[in-house]
């Protein structure tokens, strides 16, 4: 048991002695230990690049189209008229633009650049693995070839979880990693001798689930000849689709992992980069299959 702090909070650990490192002593709300933000590519003055637009008029026109909001107002109409009236604007140029191809090229651009540039060299690390995803597809017994056929529908890029964990443990500062969970209690001072202990939860490492897993592990038989401390690595996985650009429809679906042994106050600090990406999912709806059509997902 630890001493109560000035907020009358105290901890109960389940070991023979208190942990070597108090992983919270080093936590403050204004942690100065923020790593510098990733360097942005230096901006150099370059001649105007119009990207996929064949001419300046098309570029201006697209600029008006995208930046004028979703609802066309009279204000936007006036802006359009001003644009058409601008010196250098050529209606012929705007007309001659293949708009479908131009809009489509935004997505295509992102894809081709992401597969060739060195931006993705980390993807080709030995650390990243490409695994084909195969699903069983059932065919009705009255069909020409009934039964189950296995179809490869795409690839999943992912890392080996073990290597992510190893990398983490090797590099994490012990002072910021909770090797043992604890129960947190609040015992407010009372007028008489009675003591109330209120259980407080706010981190994964003081949750009942972590404490239970920890105790189960400690109570399991020791591996012969090994007296090393046994530690639960608390993995928290989450995934969410993310859009890559404001204009195109290019998307990624990453799977992330957090370590529940670390404080939420540190995890939520993006500059500390405690979130690991472990996989990238493909959208099934966009994968052309051998059946000739894409499988649509509701």
């Amino acid at each position: 048991m630890s001493e109560a702090n000035r907020f009358f909070l105290w901890r109960r650990y389940y070991g023979l002695h208190l942990p070597l490192h108090d992983a919270e002593r080093n936590t403050s709300f204004e942690d100065p230990e923020e790593s510098p933000p990733p360097e942005s590519p230096s901006s150099t003055t370059q001649p105007i690049e119009l990207g996929p637009f064949p001419n300046l008029s098309a570029f201006w026109f697209a600029d008006w189209w995208w930046n004028s909001g979703n609802e066309k107002s009279s204000h936007e109409l006036r802006k359009l008229l001003t644009l058409v009236n601008t010196q250098g604007f050529s209606l012929t140029d705007a007309f001659s633009t293949n708009w479908n191809a131009t809009m489509m090229s935004f997505d295509a651009d992102e894809r081709s650049s992401s597969s060739s540039s060195d931006e993705t060299s980390w993807f080709n690390d030995a650390d990243w693995i490409l695994t084909p995803v195969t699903i069983p597809v059932s065919f009705h017994r009255l069909m020409k070839n009934p039964g189950t056929r296995y179809q490869t529908v795409g690839n999943m890029r992912h890392r080996r979880l073990i290597s992510v964990i190893e990398e983490k443990i090797c590099n994490v500062e012990p002072g910021h990693f909770h090797y043992q969970p604890y129960e947190l209690f609040w015992s407010p001072p009372t007028n008489d001798d009675t003591q109330f202990d209120f259980r407080v939860q706010g981190e994964l490492y003081n949750s009942p689930a972590f404490v239970e897993a920890h105790q189960k592990l400690q109570n399991s038989p020791q591996i012969q000849g090994c007296n090393r401390e046994r530690v639960v690595v608390a993995l928290m996985i989450w995934s969410d689709e993310t859009h890559l650009s404001s204009f195109g429809s290019a998307k990624l679906w990453p799977v992330y992992i957090f370590f529940g042994n670390e404080s939420k106050y540190r995890r939520s600090k993006t500059s500390l980069r405690l979130c690991e990406h472990i996989a990238y999912l493909e959208s099934v709806s966009r994968i052309p299959t051998a059946f000739g059509v894409g499988i649509e997902v509701g």
């Binding site: 590099n171 090994c226 530690v231 709806s285």
Partner: protein, 31 residues
């Protein structure tokens, strides 16, 4: 994973680690 994995931390101490999934959150494909 029955026996965990032994990894040495930056404090030079080897510990035996047992990875466990505690939370998993995801959503359905958006429209």
């Amino acid at each position: 994973m029955e026996h965990g994995i032994v990894i040495m931390g930056r404090d030079g101490i080897e510990r035996r680690f047992f990875p466990t999934f505690f939370t998993y959150s995801a959503d359905y494909p958006e429209k």
